[in-house]
């Protein structure tokens, strides 16, 4: 690493290219903060997915000024896809090679500002569409795919496999909430920056979409609200139902791409009336239980490359190809609650109202601090002493009562399900799974007059919690017939 700046850097410093702000930009992005002192801003003019014009401004060291100038020169006039592919290494090369020690952050800073301008462009194009929900336009068939990229091993290998299969791949990372590690600093190992680096190392374009409003409205608000209503929410299901796949499809349409892909473990099978969701090859990793709400129209353009792989194979592919993500840990259950303490999270959002703990006959056994602290099937923290273990069997939010009983009181023979999303005909449903790590139980289904469905179970199951998903599988156990939300336990 050189100790002083190369002549290329000084040239960009003294004669910076594309300085300024565009009068009517379609996107503006800023990166940096007061902590590290440097700020970069890019404004972009995009027409027909070509970066017609770009302007930048920088407050920062000479490296930042020169890096912004070199980057603007690299991307100006390129197609959006090629511009989004330009990496830190490309900018470094344009500056004649490595920057002095401690100055490499300049490349990250200006690239992030440019990408935030692209993000702004997409979010302006989306308008309210993403917040209100996006169904997706019909796109031409073709080997083009938008692959969601979290920065983890699964999504990175997904993008890689698609590329190797001959797809034209664009990657996208979603900003879902502010809880992401280091998301407010340009210099910390932010997951977005990491995902971008990963994509760029594979030579793939990378985009970001800001879905915080959509995620707040369709996932987080419902998450908190569910506990208030005595239900046990599944935020991953809500995100798959309303956020992730819709946003990927939106970007695909914007780029004129056909497919969308994620690193989920699932497959898409043929059904009589369009595609059906199907179990992954790796049964232990199968994620159909949380993917059931994908609208069939979106599933028709969805690819799950990992559905045909076992997890160890995926890790091996990442290692063989030298992806830096190979050793990242498995992601946590709920992405917006990094410490896993969702009770604390909910408690911060809602006021706790105390109530009674009662038995099945209505006898008051004790008091509790709020129904949000309980979920059906819970054994710990009930605060009532009894000769045999007590379980929460029901939550009555209106009367603020928590009903407890014996273990056998948790057994149910029927489950009421609503908000069904069908892939196959109802008569194909042979078994239902009611917990993420549960096994499907043979059942018969019947439509109710109120539009909901009832699943009559061949054997009782324990701990069916309202708000969780009920996913119905076909006779071979592979294909998802339909999925829905548990409305209440039956008899």
């Amino acid at each position: 690493m050189p100790e002083t700046y190369r002549p290329e850097v000084i040239d960009h410093l003294v004669r910076p290219r594309n300085v300024g702000d565009l009068d009517e930009p379609v996107g503006v992005g800023e990166s940096g903060d007061a902590a590290c002192g440097d700020i970069a801003r890019f404004s972009v003019e995009i027409e027909d997915n070509v970066l017609r014009d770009v302007r930048y401004k920088v407050y920062g060291c000479a490296a930042c000024i020169a890096a912004g100038s070199a980057l603007s020169e690299l991307v100006r006039g390129k197609t959006l896809l090629d511009a989004a592919r330009v990496s830190k290494e490309d900018a470094r090369d344009a500056l004649g090679g490595p920057l002095p020690a401690g100055k490499e952050h300049a490349l990250t800073l200006v690239l992030d500002a440019l990408h935030k301008a692209f993000e702004d462009h997409w979010n302006r194009a989306a308008g309210n569409m993403l917040v209100e929900g996006y169904g997706g336009a019909e796109a031409d068939d073709g080997k083009t795919v938008v692959a969601a990229m979290s920065g983890g091993v699964d999504s990175a290998v997904t993008a890689l496999l698609l590329k190797e299969a001959g797809y034209q791949v664009a990657t996208v990372t979603f900003r879902l909430h502010d809880g992401e590690r280091g998301s407010r600093s340009c210099c910390s190992p932010d997951t977005v920056l990491f995902a971008r680096d990963t994509a760029h190392r594979m030579g793939l374009p990378h985009f970001t979409l800001n879905l915080k409003d959509l995620f707040q409205k369709r996932v987080m608000r419902d998450f908190v609200g569910s506990y208030e209503k005595g239900r046990t929410p599944n935020p991953c299901v809500a995100c798959n139902a309303h956020v992730k796949f819709h946003a990927a499809a939106f970007l695909a349409d914007g780029l004129g791409f056909h497919h969308v892909a994620t690193g989920h473990y699932a497959r898409v099978a043929d059904g009589a009336e369009g595609p059906a969701l199907a179990r992954a090859k790796d049964a232990a990793k199968d994620q159909t239980y949380v993917l059931w709400p994908i609208p069939q129209k979106l599933l028709a353009r969805t690819v799950f490359p990992l559905g045909d792989y076992e997890k160890p194979e995926v890790r091996r592919i990442a290692e063989e190809r030298g992806l830096a993500v190979a050793y990242t840990p498995e992601s946590q259950d709920i992405c917006f609650i990094p410490d896993g303490n969702y009770r604390k999270f909910v408690r911060k959002k809602v006021a706790a109202e105390p109530g009674e703990v009662v038995d099945g006959s209505g006898n008051v056994l004790g008091r509790h601090a709020g129904v949000v602290d309980f979920t059906v099937g819970q054994r710990r923290g009930i605060g009532v002493s009894a000769p045999a273990p007590l379980y929460v069997t029901e939550i009555r939010p209106r009367s603020k009562q928590v009903v407890v009983g014996r273990r056998k009181d948790l057994e149910v023979h029927e489950v009421h399900v609503r908000d069904m999303n069908w892939f196959l005909a109802p008569e194909e449903a042979r078994a239902v799974q009611v917990r993420y790590n549960g096994s499907p139980v043979p059942c018969e289904v019947e439509e109710l007059e109120d539009g909901g469905w009832i699943a009559r179970l061949a054997q009782p199951v324990m701990g069916v919690a309202p708000g969780q998903s009920a996913v119905f599988y076909s006779e071979d156990g592979e294909r998802v017939v339909a999925g829905g939300v548990v409305a209440r336990r039956g008899s």
């Binding site: 410093l13 003294v14 800023e30 002192g37 920088v58 407050y59 000479a62 000024i65």
Partner: protein, 388 residues
């Protein structure tokens, strides 16, 4: 890189004066002799060293026996502080007071003493960089051994009220060290009037060679050696003398004393022209005391522009200036001096130092101001920050 280069970074180092070089040359080419040797060559070398000691002593109003030569200003600060600290400390007397704007040579020596059991009190400065004598008095304790406040600041150029500061210490039996590396040759220093205990000096800040310095230690002040060997420099700083360097320092000190008034007059004129011209631009302001400052020092905050880019831009145009403290600008850390003066980090990163010298011409300053205006304007066009 432009052919014609204008050097405006004299606080970092000054060019070697040709007359100084001439005085040194014989000792670098042909003249031999170790000042400790008994033969004629040795005696001649001894004579040269002692002659230099006298001119250095004269520059600061000292007796020649009070001057110890060192390998530079940093060593002078280190030895002056450590030598007096070790000689005067006791189990119940290990307290040191230093100002918040000291050069690293003093700051880090204080940190070292702290690590070896001393207590250190840091006293702040006003927004103009001046130490308030009352604050110094308030920081002194019965167990205080030394107080250290630099004569003139190497970054912002503020000249302290050393006489008053030294007096309040002397009255309380506290030793007083002044880093006079920047002040010597630009400010009249008279150890006969100002009751300092020790002073640090450097050759290459007053048109002498690099790698040679000296410190003054007042006659009668207890001192313990930190460098052991053949007993040179009264046993305080052993090691065969750097004869050519010492001769150079002596010649430089002599010229500095002779030409002090003329240099100050010339530098002040250039300095004030730079201050006037630069601060006429919006969002450019002077740091440090407006009057009580070194004759050659201009320290500016240029809003909306980070110093590094400005320094390199000016360099590309042929003008060499400093960003913050020359020693601090390598790493991405805000100057502690500016933070101590109450500036925030962003302001501190937007500060540049322009220090003139005796050989700068008035036309160079006019050209510089034009280049400065160009650089600031262009870099500001680049800046997303608003200029207030």
């Amino acid at each position: 890189m432009t052919e014609h280069r204008v050097y405006l970074d004299h606080a970092a180092t000054t060019p070697l004066d040709e007359r100084v070089l001439e005085a040194m040359l014989p000792y670098l080419s042909g003249r031999r002799g170790n000042p400790s040797s008994l033969h004629a060559s040795g005696a001649a070398a001894r004579e040269a060293v002692e002659g230099a000691r006298e001119t250095v002593a004269a520059l600061v109003g000292a007796a020649s026996g009070e001057i110890i030569f060192t390998g530079g200003g940093t060593e002078a600060d280190n030895l002056a502080l450590l030598g007096t600290a070790r000689a005067s400390e006791s189990a119940r007397k290990r307290h040191l007071v230093v100002s918040a704007v000291e050069h690293a040579a003093v700051r880090e020596t204080a940190r070292y003493l702290e690590s070896s059991g001393w207590e250190v009190t840091h006293i702040g400065v006003e927004a103009d960089g001046l130490v308030d004598p009352e604050e110094l008095v308030a920081a002194l304790r019965p167990d205080t051994v030394i107080a250290a406040v630099m004569w003139a600041n190497n970054e912002v150029g503020t000249v302290q009220h050393v006489e008053e500061l030294a007096k309040v210490c002397a009255e309380r039996g506290v030793l007083f060290h002044a880093d006079a590396v920047q002040a010597a040759g630009r400010v009249t220093i008279d150890a006969g009037c100002v009751p300092v205990s020790t002073l640090a000096l450097s050759g290459h800040k007053l048109y002498g060679p690099q790698g040679v310095g000296a410190f003054y230690v007042r006659d009668g002040v207890a001192f313990e050696s930190m460098v052991f060997g053949g007993g040179q420099e009264r046993g305080i700083r052993s090691g065969t003398e750097n004869v050519a360097g010492i001769v150079g320092l002596g010649a430089a000190a002599h010229l500095a004393r002779e030409e002090l008034d003329a240099r100050v007059r010339h530098e002040t004129r250039l300095r004030d022209r730079i201050i006037g011209g630069a601060t006429a631009l919006p969002g450019v302001r002077l740091n440090g005391h407006p009057e009580e400052r070194l004759s050659n020092s201009v320290h500016l905050t240029v809003e909306g522009v980070e110093a590094e880019g400005l320094v390199l831009f000016l360099d590309a145009l042929g003008y060499e200036v400093g960003s913050g403290s020359a020693c601090a600008s390598g790493g991405h850390k805000a100057s502690p001096v500016l933070l101590a003066m109450g500036q925030d980090e962003r302001e501190a990163f937007s500060a540049i130092r322009i220090t003139t010298g005796k050989d700068n011409a008035a036309e160079e300053i006019e050209d510089f101001l034009e280049a400065f205006s160009t650089a600031v304007t262009q870099l500001r066009e680049l800046s997303p920050l608003q200029i207030t």
